[in-house]
Structure formats: structure tokens, C-alpha cells
């Protein structure tokens, strides 16, 4: 770069170089003649003038071509309130409501406001991208061309040749989409693309691509999947095993069936459970402590209905026997996965009841929520109600009755129940199932979504209701006071007068505390609450004692996600 002679002179210093560099501007030249100033200062004056000339004389560039603009979208943007909600969901991590919100905007024939497009294009999860895609419109696709990370939103070509090109040249996300679309057009050809490049793919990509083979899965894919079982990456192996389990004629399923026969046997009307031999290739890890994992993996790969038939038992009878074993958690987990995969409603119903009603000494309740939610998804609507009618120990009402109380409906005897909450039934079912499985419930969401209403609107208490209470994080009570109150809610002691007679907890027939605005509670109280829920005890360091929680103590808490940073939720 050619350096301005003036800058050159100043950089070197007037002590070393002459003080009269050639200057292109008469005004700057004139500064060099400024009276009553040293030569060095005069040079600086000239630099100041040049700076001004640079600014004033700046010319716009006229060499920029005008690219084609985005086409107009005939759809109107969604309303500002909807836009504000979408923006909040997109920028927060609590995006459980996002798919439904996006669907509704699409169903209303609207699009996202343009200002939200960068956020919307930034979503990462495949199921969210599927919901975002129809809302983008021409503007969104136009914008997607401006950033490599938005490439997933570009139109996927529809011919096999174009797809093959996208597969060969695209970014990981584009290639995934190309493979997906290729599988739909011609599963065999798309598989051959993958086989060709398999050796050069990175482990994470291999795992993603194996997952895509779910599209158009057929016995023709078995040889490839069987080879993938030898992959170095555990993620690839488990992905392949999951797909092979869905091919009933595969040798993988045959191997698993043989293992199941060895693992589960009937002897004298008792279920005897043997540890399956480790086989890392088929996803059965080595190690004595991983016995449960192996059991679950074997059972997940075979049909539970077939197993019951082999043993000559009904689903209920087999589960009843399983309850008497020490492996109930692993058995239920394996069968649950299989029932969900096969969409077996009968087994789903029986397993739901098992997870809900089994004693927490025999079953690992920390697994229950996830499986119960999945099982509920398999059940048709009328059977879902049946599943929820299994009453957990210590509950006075069945979860179904609580759901009906909240959502409204007609009882078998014709009594109309008015809805107390209008919204997603699935959400309430999950909430109740959470409480039914002894896990604390946190209702977290944007303000104005009836969280506190739901938490306080359980059926009215009956006379036999044990103590319960409500704390409110917004009350600026000191930590000791809140901890004291927790102690009373958790223990069996008399209720201090300050606890509001809460309307909660009747269905559970046990102490159930309600906490509003969890995030505004000081961190030490949150910690106490967590200890209470996980250890079932409440240490009182001031007195050097521990209070045992009453059996089945639980908490319904509400918090809103705008409060971040006030008292962020403890890591757990």
C-alpha cells in the first residue's frame, strides 16, 4: 500500500526527516505555513486537515451490483402478540410450546414477521426445523442463501441427480436432507450413496446418516446395518441396532430372541431372570454392573407380546411375576421401549400401570416419567384415560380423575365437570403423571400461561387432608422463615399459622407443598428444597437435627422464565 507522505513523515518524526513532505491539498499545504507554531505542530495541523478532507471528501462506491430481491409473500405476518411469543420461545431454552405455536401460525395462513427470520433460521433441532420451514416463505429462503449455517432451509432439489450432487457437495445438514429425500424417492440408490462415502464420514455424521435410514427401512438395508454394528462409534452401533430391531426377519432380531429365551424363564410359576452374555457388537456392554442395561437392551429388541406368548402368560400376568423379581426396572424399561417402538397398546397400558403403581423399592422411579410419557403417546385417547385411572399408592383419586377435574368432561354417571384449565390436555397429563411418580413438578413458562392457576386448582381438599402449604418466592421473607415453613410442610408437625390453607394436595392424600415463583427464592432455600426432594430429609443445621419428610412429600412449583438471573435455579 502506498503510504501518504505526510503520514510517513509523522511516523518517522521531524527530528529525523524533513518537515516539508509533498502534500496534495492546498489547505494542508497552507497549514505548513501556520505562524507561531513549531514545524512539528505544523505537520500535525496538516494531518488534522487531511483527516477532515478524508471525511468530507469520501465518495460512495458505485461498483456494487444490485442482487435480485426476495419475492413477496402473499401471506400476512402473524399478529404482534404471537410474534412476541415466538421470539421469546426462540430465544429461550423452554421451547416446548414452540412446535404447537408454529403449527398454529401456519394453520392460520400466516407467516413469521421478517425480523424474526434470523432467529427462526437459527433453530437446531430437526423437528423444529420441520415446523419452521413452511413459515419461512420466499423471504426466509432468500435470507438462508446469505449464511452457510442457514443452508438447511434452502430448497432441497427434487430429482435424484440433483440430490446426488447435494449429497456430494453440501454441508452436513444439506447432505442429511438430501439423503432423507433420496430415501423417499429410491431407498436403494440413496443407500448406495451412503455406502460409497461411508469410509470417509466423521463419526457424528455417520450416526446422523444411519438415523436417516429409518426412512424407507427395508430388509434390503440389513447387510449394511449389520456391518455398521462393527463401527468404532458407539452412537453408530446403537443407531444401527435400533433399526435392525425393527426388521423382524433380521439375524439381529433372531440373535436377540435367542438371548431373550435364555434370559427369561419360568420355573415353578416364578420368573427367573438370567444375565444375558455381553456382546458389545449387538449393544450389550461388558461389566457385571451393566447387567440391567444388557437386559433392557435384549428385551427392547424383541416383541413383549411374543415373549408373553412363549411363556404362556398374559401381559398382566407376566408383569405381575416381574414385580416379584429384583430386575423390575430393567425389564419394564426394555419392554417399554419395545412397546413404544411397536405401538403395542395392550402392553403400553399394562406397563403404564406398572410404572405408576409399583413400589419405589422395586422400580426406579427416576426412569418412570420418561417412559410413561412415551407409553402415553402410544395409547389411543380412550385408553390413555384408562391408563391414568390406575391409582398410585397413597393417592385418594386416580390421576385420571384429577385430569378430568382440571380439563372438564362427562363422568360415566353423566355428571358434567366444568373445565378449570383450557389448554393442552397432554401437558396436564404429563404434569399429573409426574406427580404420580413421586417427582416434583415445576411449571415453568412465560407469564400469563396459568401456571399458578393450575398449581393451585387441584380438587378441593377432603377432611382427611394432611398438612400442606404454599410459599411464595415474591414475599421477601428471610431464608430462615421459608425454611421453617418447608420444615412444617415436609414433616408431620403442626401447621404454623402463616401457611395459607392451600387448596392443593387433596388427591395425593399426603403433604404436597406449593411454591410460587421458585426463581425468586434465595438460593439456599432452593438447595434445601432440592435436598428435601432427593434425600427425603431436611437438615436443620441451627439445631443440629434432621427432619424426615413425610412419606410421599412432594412439591408443585411455578416459575417464570423472565426471571432469569434473579435467583437462577440451582444446577439441579
Amino acid at each position: 500500500m502506498r503510504l501518504d507522505p505526510l503520514i510517513e513523515a509523522l511516523t518517522a518524526g521531524t527530528a529525523r526527516q524533513g518537515t516539508r513532505p509533498p502534500l496534495p491539498s492546498p489547505l494542508a499545504e497552507a497549514m505548513l505555513e501556520a505562524p507561531d507554531a513549531s514545524p512539528s505542530l505544523r505537520l500535525l495541523y496538516a494531518a488534522g486537515v487531511r483527516a477532515l478532507e478524508h471525511t468530507i471528501g469520501r465518495l460512495p462506491s458505485s461498483e456494487l451490483p444490485l442482487p435480485a430481491p426476495a419475492e413477496l409473500d402473499p401471506r400476512p405476518p402473524c399478529r404482534p402478540r404471537a410474534a412476541a411469543l415466538v421470539q421469546q420461545l426462540l430465544s429461550g431454552s423452554h421451547d416446548g410450546l414452540l412446535p404447537e405455536t408454529l403449527e398454529r401460525i401456519h394453520a392460520a395462513g400466516q407467516r413469521l414477521p421478517h425480523a424474526l427470520l434470523p432467529l427462526a433460521l437459527g433453530v437446531r433441532r430437526a423437528e423444529l426445523r420441520a415446523k419452521v420451514r413452511p413459515l419461512l416463505g420466499p423471504r426466509g429462503r432468500w435470507l438462508a442463501a446469505h449464511s452457510p449455517s442457514f443452508a438447511w432451509a434452502l430448497e432441497v432439489p427434487s430429482s435424484l441427480e440433483a440430490l446426488a450432487r447435494a449429497w456430494a457437495e453440501g454441508t452436513a445438514a444439506v447432505r442429511r436432507d438430501a439423503l432423507d429425500k433420496g430415501r423417499r424417492l429410491d431407498a436403494g440408490v440413496a443407500l448406495s450413496w451412503l455406502i460409497d462415502t461411508w469410509a470417509h464420514e466423521k463419526a457424528d455424521d455417520r450416526a446422523v446418516f444411519v438415523g436417516v435410514l429409518e426412512v424407507g427401512l427395508s430388509p434390503a438395508d440389513e447387510p449394511f446395518l449389520e456391518r455398521a454394528l462393527d463401527d468404532r462409534s458407539a452412537k453408530v452401533r446403537s443407531g444401527a441396532a435400533q433399526l435392525l430391531a425393527r426388521l423382524p426377519s433380521s439375524t439381529f432380531v433372531a440373535r436377540m430372541k435367542a438371548r431373550a429365551v435364555g434370559a427369561l424363564q419360568l420355573r415353578k410359576q416364578q420368573l427367573v431372570v438370567h444375565d444375558p452374555q455381553p456382546a458389545p457388537r449387538d449393544g450389550l456392554p461388558e461389566g457385571a454392573e451393566l447387567r440391567g442395561l444388557r437386559l433392557a437392551a435384549v428385551l427392547a429388541a424383541v416383541s413383549p407380546a411374543d415373549e408373553a406368548r412363549r411363556l404362556g402368560l398374559s401381559a398382566e400376568a407376566l408383569l405381575a411375576l416381574a414385580r416379584r423379581t429384583t430386575d423390575l426396572s430393567s425389564l419394564a424399561e426394555g419392554w417399554s421401549r419395545a412397546a413404544v417402538r411397536l405401538g403395542d397398546a395392550e402392553w403400553a397400558l399394562a406397563l403404564w400401570a406398572t410404572w405408576a403403581t409399583a413400589d419405589d423399592k422395586t422400580i426406579d422411579k427416576s426412569l418412570a416419567g420418561e417412559h410413561m410419557q412415551a407409553l402415553l403417546g402410544v395409547l389411543p385417547a380412550e385408553q390413555a384415560a384408562g391408563a391414568l385411572s390406575a391409582r398410585p399408592p397413597q393417592w385418594q383419586l386416580s390421576p385420571w380423575a384429577v385430569v378430568t377435574y382440571l380439563m372438564g368432561g362427562t363422568l360415566p354417571n353423566g355428571v358434567e365437570i366444568t373445565p378449570k384449565y383450557i389448554g393442552s390436555r397432554r401437558l396436564i397429563e404429563i404434569a399429573i403423571a409426574t406427580l404420580a411418580t413421586d417427582r416434583a413438578l415445576l411449571l415453568l413458562g412465560v407469564p400469563g400461561t396459568a401456571k399458578s392457576w393450575v398449581s393451585s386448582t387441584w380438587p378441593p381438599p377432603s377432611a382427611a387432608t394432611p398438612p400442606a402449604g404454599a410459599g411464595h418466592g415474591r414475599h421477601q421473607r428471610g431464608s430462615p422463615a421459608l425454611r421453617l415453613e418447608l420444615r412444617h410442610a415436609a414433616g408431620r408437625g403442626p401447621l404454623p399459622r402463616r401457611w395459607c390453607p392451600a387448596r392443593c394436595c387433596a388427591p395425593c392424600g399426603r403433604p404436597l407443598a406449593r411454591v410460587e415463583e421458585l426463581t425468586r427464592i434465595p438460593a439456599d432455600v432452593q438447595d434445601t428444597l432440592i435436598t428435601l426432594l432427593s434425600e427425603k430429609t431436611l437438615p436443620v443445621p441451627e439445631l443440629g437435627i434432621e427432619v424426615q419428610a413425610a412419606k410421599g412429600f412432594n412439591v408443585i412449583a411455578t416459575a417464570n422464565n423472565r426471571d432469569k438471573g434473579v435467583n437462577d435455579l440451582s444446577a439441579r
Binding site: 518524526g13 513549531s38 487531511r50 471525511t55 469520501r58 460512495p60 462506491s61 434470523p118
Partner: protein
């Protein structure tokens, strides 16, 4: 002398004090109640025994309790006792602690009357102003000496210890009560060694500083508005009262075009750009607050309000105060009329610089520009004539999304090299852009 209860109630700082005072409004709560023609007094048992006195001439009170409310609940109680049960407060000689207080008040009053009679301390004010100007002059002289040194030894030597030298020089200027110059020198120090073209940048900045120092030295020969401007650049502050007294005023519908907030550990500052829809005048409102505090003037970008602004005196009226507002701010519904091309915007900027060559940023409203991605990956604003200036934007996709390759009305800060977008009119609404820089 009778004391109406309503008058006592009117003294209360808040209703809570009045409620609390009710407990002390019974004569039985008091000991040693008494009054004379000047004052009223008594002792009351609060958390400790408190001595309460009230001057009957102006109802000012004094209590020995630690409350910060004035009057406190005890004083209110005493006045209420007097209002309701005048007979319970006998006339008697004032005890020593009341006498003392009354004398102190009388002495204070005499002093303030004497001061009021002699008029404002003009002599003292002029003397202080002259002393400050002398200190600033000395600071400017030292700055010129330093600039001379820097130019003589060369900018290349700045790369070694230039940053420290700038910090030291800035501190000297701050001591010389020229904070405006101090912050300019500090910024030069921060630019040393940054980027490949820093010598040019630093040379230009030092050149401007040298011109500023020279202009100040020669201020006697300059127009008064420019001298006013210079003194603000050097760091002489202008009080709001002066602005209200001397500033030019205009009433209009003011559009809040953009706001930028800078924060460091000691202070946060907000600069808010306003645009008069009818007068087509621009105003910059600067506000300063502690990092934890809020700014006092609520300006929501994208709204407009009816009101009056008052500009700081100077050669280019730019910085202003909002002196009056009427009605609630409302969302802007239609765009303003901006420059139709970048060329006219640049001309307007040049005209401003001709009047005040040290201006750093100005508001640039340009209509019908298309944000376009250049071959360098940077975003440019291209006008209908096909001319383009570079945009500086932390998150360019936001502007691309709202424009979509179509022309928009853009509001920017123009710093002489790049446009810093503040917002754009798109989809029939004003969208604020790039809050963080």
C-alpha cells in the same frame, strides 16, 4: 394561637407517618409538654425518650429520634396534641434544649438574610471561572508541548510506550480540568497498535487534537458560537439552567430514532437520536447514570412524542434537552422524509463539519436504500443512484431479513467512514437494529 388539624396533616411526608403519629397524639403519651409564643415542645417515649420541638412561626420541627422523615411521627404527634388538646399544653418558660435550638435557628436565619442582601456572589463566580480557564490554558499548552514532542520523535516510537504516555497525558489534562481533551487523548492511546493502518488513524486524530488546541489558543479571534462549541469540546460543562436560559427551542413531534448505551464500570451513558417530523431537525440527548441506576428520560425507540426541545448553545445545534412533553409517547406509524440519496447526505455532513470540524457522529436518515452484501462479505447501503457506503453492524442478518433486497428507509449514525444502522422502516413499522455494538 390556634393550630388547625388540617394544617398539621398537610405537613406529613406520607400517610404512614400520619398513621404512626396517631399513637403519639394523646397528651398522656407526653411529658414536660409546654409552649411559649415562639415554640412548642415535649418529651415522648419512643424506642428511647425523644425530645421534640416545633417552631410555631413556621411549624418547622426538630426531634432527637433517628428517623429521616421530616417532620417525623413524633413531631407530627406533638403538633396533633396541640391541635386537638390545646389545654393540655401549658404556657411556660422554654427549657434549655428548646432555647438552644431556637437560637441556632435565629442565627442561621440572620446569616442567610445577610447573604441574600448582598446579592449573588458574582465576584467569587468570576474569580473561579477565570482560575479554571487559566488552568485549562496551562493544560492546553502542555498538550501542545506533548504533541510537538510526539511529532518530533515520530509516531513509530509511540508503538513502544505510546499507550502509557497517552494515559499520563490524559491524566494531566483531567487535572487541568479539560476532561473533553483528556478523553480524546485516552482514545488515541487505545488506538495505538490496533490494525495495520493505525499510524494513519493516530496521525489524523493527533492532527485534530492539535487543531483543537490551536483553535482554543486563538479563541479571541473566533466567533462566539464556535468558541462556545470549543469550550464544550474541551470539557466545560453547561448547566441545564444555562441551556434553558440561552438555548434555541422548538416544538414538534419528536421521533425516537435510535439509542446507543455505552457502559463501563464507573458510568453508563446513553445517546438518543431524535428527529423532528415537521421541523426536520435533529437532536442528540445525552444522559449519564451510575451503572446500577436507570436513565431518567424514558425514550423508547420506535415511538414519538409531542414536546419541546432546547438545544445547547454552539455553532451546530445538536445536543439538546427535552424541556416539555405533552401526552403519552405513541408508536410511529409512518416514515419521516430522509435524504433521497447518499450524496445529499454526505453534502449535509460536509456542511456540518464546515461549521464544527471536530464533530464525530451525525444522524443520517436515508430513504430508498437497499442493504446489499458486498464482495468482501460486508453489508453496504446502496441508494437508487447505485452508490453505496459500507454499513457497520454486529448482526447483519437482521437488516437483511427486514429488507429482503428491497429498498428501506434507513436511520444510521454516520462517522465519516461507515454507517452504523440504528433502525429501518420495514413491514410498515420501525425496527430498531443492532442495539449492541
Amino acid at each position: 394561637m390556634s393550630l388547625p388539624e388540617a394544617q398539621v396533616r398537610a405537613l406529613a411526608p406520607d400517610t404512614a407517618s400520619l398513621e404512626a403519629a396517631e399513637r403519639h397524639a394523646r397528651p398522656t403519651a407526653w411529658r414536660n409538654l409546654g409552649h411559649d409564643p415562639r415554640a412548642l415542645w415535649g418529651e415522648v417515649q419512643g424506642r428511647a425518650p425523644y425530645q421534640v420541638r416545633a417552631d410555631l412561626t413556621d411549624l418547622s420541627t426538630k426531634c432527637s429520634c433517628p428517623s429521616r422523615k421530616l417532620p417525623c411521627k413524633h413531631a407530627l404527634g406533638l403538633l396533633l396534641v396541640r391541635a386537638r388538646h390545646a389545654a393540655a399544653v401549658p404556657a411556660r418558660g422554654a427549657p434549655a434544649w428548646v432555647e438552644e435550638w431556637l437560637e441556632r435557628r435565629a442565627a442561621q436565619k440572620r446569616r442567610s438574610e445577610a447573604r441574600a442582601a448582598s446579592g449573588p456572589d458574582l465576584v467569587g463566580r468570576v474569580r473561579r471561572a477565570v482560575a479554571r480557564e487559566r488552568r485549562v490554558d496551562a493544560g492546553v499548552e502542555a498538550l501542545e508541548q506533548w504533541l510537538d514532542d510526539v511529532a518530533r520523535t515520530g509516531l513509530a516510537s509511540l508503538a513502544v510506550d505510546g499507550a502509557a504516555s497517552c494515559v499520563a497525558q490524559a491524566a494531566r489534562l483531567a487535572d487541568a480540568q479539560a476532561p473533553g481533551l483528556a478523553s480524546r487523548v485516552r482514545r488515541v492511546g487505545e488506538a495505538i497498535g490496533v490494525g495495520t493502518d493505525w499510524p494513519e488513524h493516530v496521525a489524523h486524530e493527533l492532527g485534530r487534537l492539535a487543531l483543537l488546541a490551536r483553535a482554543w489558543r486563538r479563541r479571541a479571534a473566533l466567533d462566539e458560537p464556535l468558541v462556545t462549541e470549543l469550550s464544550q469540546l474541551l470539557g466545560f460543562s453547561v448547566t441545564e439552567a444555562t441551556v434553558r436560559e440561552l438555548g434555541v427551542r422548538a416544538t414538534d413531534q419528536w421521533c425516537v430514532v435510535g439509542q446507543r448505551i455505552d457502559e463501563d464500570e464507573r458510568l453508563k451513558s446513553a445517546r438518543t437520536w431524535l428527529w423532528g417530523r415537521h421541523s426536520e431537525r435533529c437532536a442528540l440527548v445525552l444522559e449519564f447514570a451510575l451503572p446500577t441506576a436507570r436513565f431518567t428520560e424514558p425514550f423508547a425507540v420506535g415511538t414519538s412524542f409531542e414536546g419541546e426541545l432546547c438545544w445547547y448553545p454552539g455553532a451546530v445545534a445538536r445536543r439538546a434537552l427535552a424541556t416539555a412533553r405533552s401526552g403519552e409517547p405513541a408508536a410511529m406509524l409512518e416514515p419521516w422524509r430522509g435524504h433521497t440519496s447518499l450524496a445529499t447526505m454526505l453534502d449535509a455532513h460536509a456542511a456540518l463539519l464546515a461549521r464544527q470540524p471536530w464533530l464525530e457522529r451525525m444522524l443520517a436518515l436515508v430513504d430508498q436504500v437497499v442493504p446489499v452484501r458486498g464482495p468482501d462479505g460486508r453489508l453496504w447501503a446502496r441508494d437508487t443512484a447505485g452508490q453505496a457506503l459500507p454499513l457497520e453492524l454486529a448482526e447483519p442478518l437482521g437488516l437483511l431479513a427486514v429488507s429482503g433486497g428491497h429498498p428501506v428507509s434507513l436511520a444510521c449514525e454516520w462517522d465519516g467512514a461507515r454507517l452504523h444502522p440504528l433502525g429501518a422502516w420495514a413491514e410498515g413499522a420501525y425496527q430498531a437494529l443492532g442495539a449492541a455494538e
